[in-house]
Symmetry: C2
Subunit: 332 residues, 2 copies
DNA sequence: CTGAAAGCGCTTACAG
DNA sequence: CTGAAAGCGCTTACAG
């Protein structure tokens, strides 16, 4: 920085102002300084800057997955589910114009400690927390830490934190309406894990809208293999099902395979509606009719809200709810 | 820190020594200081520390994917392929004992610039670069930046950088041997993208070992859907194939579906061998026989080598090659 | 083994 | 609009 200042014939203060885009710098001087920066190849030291500004200009995207007793680690689940790619894309896109870096931190409860330490040390200015399972203690821990944060879904216990969510029950209702409008009368559903609010909400929303019908359901786990197994069981217990709502596209992909393996045509014998509208919907055969959750937009909104909290620490928490829409394709 | 020093009745220098585990501190004093730290809830400021140590105690895991002209973004590919979860798990595991954080940075060429800026600013002490495609300019850019780095595969152009790889050709040979030992004579292969060295190596290795046989092949793209489409084409062009080597488990999963859709039994009519031994191998029906690539161990080794480079900047680059093994299951 | 002091590389009131 | 100077919170020779 001294070199730049000398080369440009100004003080370090002025160099600093140019770098940080202060408007109060004379246009000619600004130019001279910028040339000097280019010539010297000067790059500001982020540690020094952070030390005085108390800003790191990066935020964490903490992806918190439940502990599951299977072989597949949480990392396998994360790097296998298109949902997280969409979240990352949405958050990155919203943050980039502000020149804020996104630090992706996958975790399950085995290293909550590690994650909290990272946050406490001030590596990031705030956290986008993707957490869905009921027992997850991370939202509360993060909240108690006092660092600006936005959560990806309504917290299960009431904590005063901002969150962004989709209207889960409305989504389930759209699925039910679609199946009914197709004339289906023997409906069933493969739900998400019931310890995840979105899992429970979609199930309840579906049932609530179908009051009067008997709606068999099986709990899935939001994985492809889980959806396949669930569909197999469901169909063996209720062979006459003609309409199926599967609470995630990934599970629907597996379910579709099972349904067809068991000799049913889709949608002729069984109409299937998924949830998410992720890339998995397009991997399905037939292409999946599904309830679209605007995940990228939701993640971008999370980022915007977080930025607002970082800018004005006193800000009250707020929640934003997005509306799902039905995307009709071939499966139902 | 001043608070802690005061509470413990020592200087800040001593507090610093205790925190950094200097051995030269009196045991009693160390205890007093630690208690004071606990009581005050003191957390060191990482920016201040980095400013003087010139270390961030974190390294980047840059996942560089090729630009592809399809709908699915690189983020979708990354968060859909179990390979990256394995890499992350391996690297995290190796870094944790050293108290080094891993910053995951997914990228394609559209934001190389952004990534390079991040690295240049000194946010991390080194970079683990997952890059496989031939045209990727990132390995060279990173190398020219001069930051300690380890690449996940032999670079296509010769740059003096450390890398960790698996013996691709040997892996392909194991697959060929397995199919031959099963008495299969009409072999074919679905390769990875041929602009990716591992894709080309596996194809060439397979062919080289089968010199004399005519070995039809189709280029895939390391995705499930791509494997399915490739298998369909392959079988329509060569209906008598009885042994198939698919260059990744994810593609094999799709290929298996296609093969069976077309009325062939696996392994009776067509024996199938994959490559990776990722979780996708266990999602296959029948369970996939495959060539195991010890990805977690390889990523851990990358981390160890990187740490060595960070510790001694003058260190010469070195490459480590792992041996693949055949994992026999049901498909071939 | 411990402390006083310098210094890491920035930003930002403050004065002009 | 610009510069001199203080200060952000640590670590680490150096001296004792």
């Amino acid at each position: 920085m001294d070199q730049v200042a000398e080369a440009a014939g100004v003080s370090r203060a002025t160099v600093s102002r140019v770098i940080n885009g202060a408007t109060s710098v004379d246009a000619k001087i600004r130019e001279v300084v910028q040339r000097a920066i280019a010539e010297t190849g000067y790059v500001p030291n982020v540690a020094a800057r952070s030390l005085v500004t108390r800003r790191s200009n990066s935020v964490a995207l903490v992806i918190s997955e439940p502990d599951r007793p299977d072989n597949h680690s949480f990392l396998n689940r994360i790097f296998t589910d298109p949902y997280f790619g969409r979240v990352t894309a949405g958050a990155t896109g919203a943050l980039r114009p502000h020149d804020i870096h996104l630090v992706v931190i996958p975790t399950d409860s085995t290293d909550h400690h590690q994650v909290m330490r990272y946050l406490r040390q001030g590596h990031v200015d705030g956290v986008l927390l993707i957490s869905s399972h009921e027992q997850d203690t991370l939202p509360r821990q993060v909240h108690e830490l006092g660092i600006p944060a936005v959560v990806s879904a309504r917290p299960t216990s009431p904590i005063a934190v901002s969150y962004v969510d989709v209207d889960q029950r409305l989504g389930a209702r759209l699925a039910a309406d679609r199946l009914l409008s197709l004339g289906r009368t023997r409906l069933a559903t493969i739900s998400g894990p019931l310890d995840i609010p979105s899992g429970l909400d979609r199930l309840e929303g579906f049932r609530a809208h179908l009051r009067g019908h008997d709606v068999p359901s099986i709990e899935g786990d939001f994985t492809r293999a889980g959806g396949e197994a669930a569909a197999r069981r469901l169909l063996s217990q209720h062979p006459d099902i003609d309409g199926l709502f599967v609470a995630s596209d990934l599970m629907a992909e597996g379910a579709l395979r099972a349904v067809q393996d068991l000799g049913r045509r889709v949608p002729e014998d069984v109409a299937v509606v998924g949830f998410d509208d992720s890339s998995a919907a397009l991997d399905c055969r037939p292409l999946l009719t599904t309830v679209r959750q605007p995940v990228e937009e939701m993640a971008a909104e999370m980022a915007e809200v977080l930025l607002a909290h970082i800018a004005s620490p006193g800000r009250l928490p707020r929640s934003v709810t997005f509306h799902p829409t039905l995307v009709v394709r071939d499966s139902g």
